[in-house]
């Protein structure tokens, strides 16, 4: 340590070099907005999704929804054509696979034979022509309710995009085009994985560009209020900025991508790193009134080193416990924040003193200010010591009340609700739900026992029965598969006789219908419905609700159905966004419980080890435990759901919360060594460390409060709750710890 103080300038240069390295890493940082990679590899849904991807021509979807008073109006029909054509031109869109009314093929029987036509070969002009088109659409189950809504006011144009294609260029080009063709009567909606992921990208960018400066502004205000000196603002600010650059740069260097969850990291870094700087600087101002710059620095470092290292390690442990979640992005978050915290205390312990060493002695702080604040703390202290029993009872009641709240906690959110009510994604979601039977898709893969079985009428009849069963569910919007095409063709090729809208009787008929369908120009569509060996097919279904409970009910029903109807020859697996969410949520709940317990235990053990005392170890985890319980209680009462964004709260709360008690207890034990009465020690502790804790909480709350302005609702909830956690931990530390410590000293 003394070595560094001797050569502060060299230290500063070394840190500057590292900062350049990490700044470079920052330029390589990318966002990741796609779903589907977050579940652990052994999860059955994840396995099913991988199977689905590898077997079928999987593509990401870009969907344009067109809402008009009458979709059969010639302008609306022209719009469908134009948008379909436009999609074909875009980079990344698979050509010839755009699905819409204008690209759909009608296979019909006429007197001359079979006609394979495009629907919009000629735009209908007269009322009679429109009626004809309407009838044709209603009669075609591959179009009606799939590409055109039941009430004829909504149409879809669906493009398949090569996976991993960047979403933003497609989004921008399509938006520009839609702007150029829009009219007063026609409204457009963008949906599908491609456009949704663009919204997430956009949201993350917006968040960081809004929240980060805001957060820094708040911190600056907080620092200015606390220290009232220029260096009191600039030095902690420098540490904060460097910690962000180092952490995000590290992410860029190792290739970890920015997600909705990890996008909060910069703000988190601010909140955490400001604490360390504040504590050290606070102590420095104390010491420097009594000695030279050099001596004060040495003394400051000596006295704050232990608590800073301890709090650094406990915070890092706190967030590192997030690796028990089986969800990859949460795991990554845990690791990265732990790394970030370690960066912070390296910066605080080595860089901050070096900077102070090259600066002149600061002006003295006005004495009466110190006295003023110390008066408030003395009053708090005497109050809490006099009313020990009342305070204990109050806290116990609060904890019990919280347990009631905890019972009410709802779990799991859906993607659409990530965005606030007025947001494009939400309104689009609602419109799609209303008009097209939903957006939440589910893919049911049905595997037969051997190749070619998807040509077997017996097998197909079983799938047909299943589809009928599924359609009856009130939570299901659309259901479709190759079965519908097959039945339609059978009807068409048998003089359009509705009695033939059934599965054909022989394998040869099925095979020849499949061949005909592929020859009519839809072979790529066929490959999305049936696998290469004709061993398995997919049934697509959408939910018309976003409630996870309803989805779960349907899954259970599906599993029950196949249990009864399988006879060991058919295996069924579920993939798609809806099952994915259910699985995801389960992991969050299980992970959450495990995570909290682990965090508390690990932190407790660590404190016990550092303090070399069971008593103090236990005392140090009291405020954070109480605070966690209160926070969850609040969640339950207020209706904030436990999901992705809120799952990480406890880990952060515990990690940061323990810092307060560590600082407090450390200072208390230091004072005890000076052989003062416990009462005197508590007074000194609360005036200095207590004061620092409140400054700390002020800066943390200011920092975390910016999340309330996030574009993502789970992050907003995170902001509120973390602030609540911070405040309750600080108050508990200041109000509850003194009585406990004083009781402890009485016993001794």
């Amino acid at each position: 340590m003394r070595v560094l103080i001797k050569y502060p300038k060299s230290t500063i240069i070394v840190f500057a070099l590292f900062s350049i390295l990490f700044a470079y890493g920052l330029t390589k940082l990318e966002t990741q907005n796609s779903f589907g990679s977050d579940l652990p590899a052994e999860d059955p849904i994840q396995i099913a999704m991988e199977t689905y991807k590898s077997r079928y021509n999987n593509a990401w979807l870009a969907i344009v929804g067109i809402e008009t008073p009458d979709i059969l109006d010639s302008n609306s029909l022209k719009v469908i054509s134009k948008i379909s054509d436009k999609f074909e031109e875009l980079d990344g869109v698979l050509p010839g696979q755009v699905k819409s009314l204008s690209t759909a093929k009608r296979i019909i029987e006429t007197q001359q034979g079979i006609e394979i036509l495009n629907y919009l070969e000629e735009i209908p002009g007269s009322v009679a022509e429109k009626e004809t088109l309407k009838k044709q659409i209603i009669d075609d189950n591959t179009v009606y309710e799939l590409l055109i809504s039941k009430d004829m006011t909504f149409a879809l144009v669906v493009a398949d995009v090569i996976p991993e294609t960047p979403a933003t260029p497609i989004y921008l080009e399509m938006m520009e085009f839609l702007d150029s063709i829009k009219t007063d009567e026609i409204k457009f909606y963008l949906s599908g994985g491609i456009f949704d992921s663009h919204e997430i990208d956009l949201g993350i960018d917006k968040d960081i560009s809004l929240l980060l400066p805001l957060c820094i502004l708040f911190i600056i205000i907080g620092l200015a209020v606390s220290f009232k000196t220029l260096r009191g603002v600039l030095i902690p600010l420098l540490i904060i900025v460097l910690s962000i650059v180092w952490t995000m740069g590290f992410m860029g260097l190792v290739g970890i991508k920015l997600t909705i969850v990890t996008s909060i990291l910069p703000m988190l870094m601010i909140a955490i790193s400001s604490s360390y700087g504040i504590h050290m600087l606070h102590r420095y101002y104390e010491e420097v009134q009594l000695g030279t710059v050099k001596e004060s620095i040495i003394s400051t470092v000596k006295n704050t080193r232990k608590p800073i290292i301890m709090t650094g390690i406990t915070s890092a442990i706190g967030t590192a416990t997030l690796i028990v979640f089986k969800i990859n992005s949460i795991k990554e978050f845990g690791v990265i924040s732990a790394v970030g915290i370690i960066f912070v205390f390296i910066l605080t312990l080595f860089l901050l003193p070096s900077i102070l060493a090259v600066l002149k002695k600061p002006q003295r702080k006005a004495k009466n200010e110190v006295q003023e604040s110390s008066m408030v703390y003395s009053q708090i202290l005497s109050f809490s010591l006099k009313n020990k029993v009342k305070i204990f009872i109050t806290f116990i009641l609060l904890v019990l009340l919280s347990f009631i709240g905890i019972k009410e906690i709802k779990i799991g959110a859906d993607f659409a609700k990530y965005f606030p009510k007025e947001h494009r994604v939400r309104t689009t979601y609602n419109v799609f739900n209303k008009k097209m039977g939903g957006v939440f898709d589910m893919v049911i893969m049905i595997d037969g026992s051997e190749n070619e079985i998807v040509k077997d009428p017996q097998f197909l009849k079983k799938v047909d029965s299943f589809q009928s069963y599924l359609k009856q569910s009130k939570h299901i919007g659309r259901v479709n598969s190759v079965i519908d095409i097959l039945k339609q063709m059978n009807k068409t090729f048998n003089n359009n006789n509705p009695d033939y809208y059934v599965i054909p009787n022989t394998k040869e008929e099925v095979a020849q219908y499949y061949l005909t369908y592929q020859m009519s120009g839809s072979s790529s569509t066929f490959e999305q419905m049936v696998d290469f060996d004709y061993k398995s097919l997919v049934v697509h279904a959408t939910f018309n609700t976003s409630e996870l409970i309803d989805h779960q009910t349907v899954f259970n029903d599906i599993n029950e159905y196949w249990k009864q109807h399988k006879n060991n020859e058919i295996s069924v697996s579920l993939a798609g966004r809806a099952p994915y969410n259910i699985s995801f949520t389960e992991y969050i709940v299980k992970g959450k419980l495990f995570n909290i317990l682990l965090a508390i235990i690990v932190v407790w053990l660590f404190c016990t080890f550092i303090f070399k005392s069971f008593k103090y170890g236990l005392i140090s985890i009291i405020p954070l435990s109480i605070s966690s319980i209160l926070t969850f209680g609040l969640m339950g009462f207020v209706g904030v759901r436990l999901e992705m964004g809120t799952a990480i709260i406890s880990a952060i709360g515990i990690g940061i919360g323990v810092d307060f008690s560590i600082h407090f207890i450390c200072r208390y034990r230091q004072e005890l060594k000076n052989n003062l009465l416990p009462q005197e020690c508590l007074k000194k502790t609360i005036e200095t460390s207590g004061h620092a804790i409140m400054l700390d909480v002020l800066s943390n709350v200011l920092g975390f409060s910016v999340f309330v302005f996030s574009g993502f609702t789970p992050i907003q909830a995170f902001g509120w709750l973390v602030c609540f956690t911070m405040i309750t931990v600080a108050l508990t530390t200041i109000v509850l710890l003194p009585p406990i410590l004083s009781l402890l000293s009485l016993k001794e």
């Binding site: 590898s54 021509n57 074909e88 031109e89 980079d91 698979l94 050509p95 029987e109 001359q112 034979g113 079979i114 006609e115 394979i116 036509l117 495009n118 070969e121 090569i162 040509k455 090729f493 048998n494 054909p504 022989t506 394998k507 040869e508 008929e509 099925v510 095979a511 020849q512 219908y513 061949l515 005909t516 592929q518 020859m519 009519s520 120009g521 072979s523 790529s524 490959e527 290469f532 060996d533």
Partner: protein
């Protein structure tokens, strides 16, 4: 004297090759392919981007009629569940081709009308147009250069379609590598609206069959989807004449 003759003939041959225009090269290529009647026994392989293969066996009877119009009968022979499924195409001068489909499982022959000229050949990456002959008057051909492809000297010719051809074929440009001594296309590149390489054609295993150079293996790859189709010819027959009865509708049902 002999040396001079030799030199003059070489110069003549070389300059003959050099003075052929793009259109002349393509025209010659086309005419060497045009046959009076042709029987083909072939295997069609559909290969997805993961390398999985679907096989279909078929026989084709191709006969040329007045005005250079063709009748083509395509009959599937394998796999067994589609055996005897047949497609009959009759080219017309002034209107779309007539197409009939016979599905043996249903027993009847049905006329299929599809306005889509660029429809695929029995579910493959080849279109009928790709496998047919050049519309010499609807393209502008430009000789670009000479280039060796797999040790064979080729004329590289660019074809730019006019609007009619563009709307039928869907391509904005094609580039041919035509073998100089066989006048067969060894490679063709197809470019789409965004001027991107969209499909690639390759032919190989070229043999002389009764005065005609024919490719026994042809491959078309969709560069964007990664899907490939291969035609592997088991047998070409030009000598056996094809009975006109082959093209009667009732013959399809046999």
């Amino acid at each position: 004297m002999k040396i001079v003759t030799l030199i003059i003939s070489i110069v003549l041959v070389v300059s003959y090759g050099a003075t052929l225009t793009g259109r002349e090269i393509v025209s010659k290529m086309d005419s060497t392919q045009k046959v009076q009647s042709e029987f083909r026994d072939l295997q069609l392989l559909l290969i997805n981007k993961k390398g999985r293969v679907r096989k279909r066996n078929l026989m084709q009877y191709i006969k040329r009629y007045e005005g250079g119009l063709y009748k083509i009968l395509t009959r599937f022979t394998a796999p067994s569940d589609i055996a005897k499924t047949s497609l009959l195409i009759v080219e017309n001068e002034d209107r779309n081709d007539d197409t009939w489909l016979y599905l043996p499982a249903l027993g009847k022959v049905r006329k299929i009308s599809s306005r889509n000229k660029s429809s695929n050949f029995v579910g493959s990456d080849f279109t009928y147009k790709d496998l047919g002959y050049e519309s010499l008057n609807n393209n502008k051909y430009t000789y670009l250069r000479s280039e060796a492809l797999d040790n064979e000297e080729c004329y590289v010719v660019e074809a730019l379609p006019n609007d009619v051809e563009k709307s039928e074929g869907g391509y904005t440009k094609r580039v041919f590598w035509i073998s100089k001594n066989k006048f067969l296309p060894l490679k063709i590149e197809y470019y789409n609206k965004s001027n991107k390489l969209y499909k690639g054609f390759k032919s190989s295993d070229i043999r002389l069959v009764e005065d005609y150079f024919k490719a026994y293996k042809m491959e078309m790859e969709n560069k964007i989807t990664g899907h490939k189709s291969q035609i592997i010819v088991n047998n070409y027959d030009y000598s056996t004449s094809i009975n006109d009865d082959m093209y009667l509708l009732k013959s399809l049902e046999k």
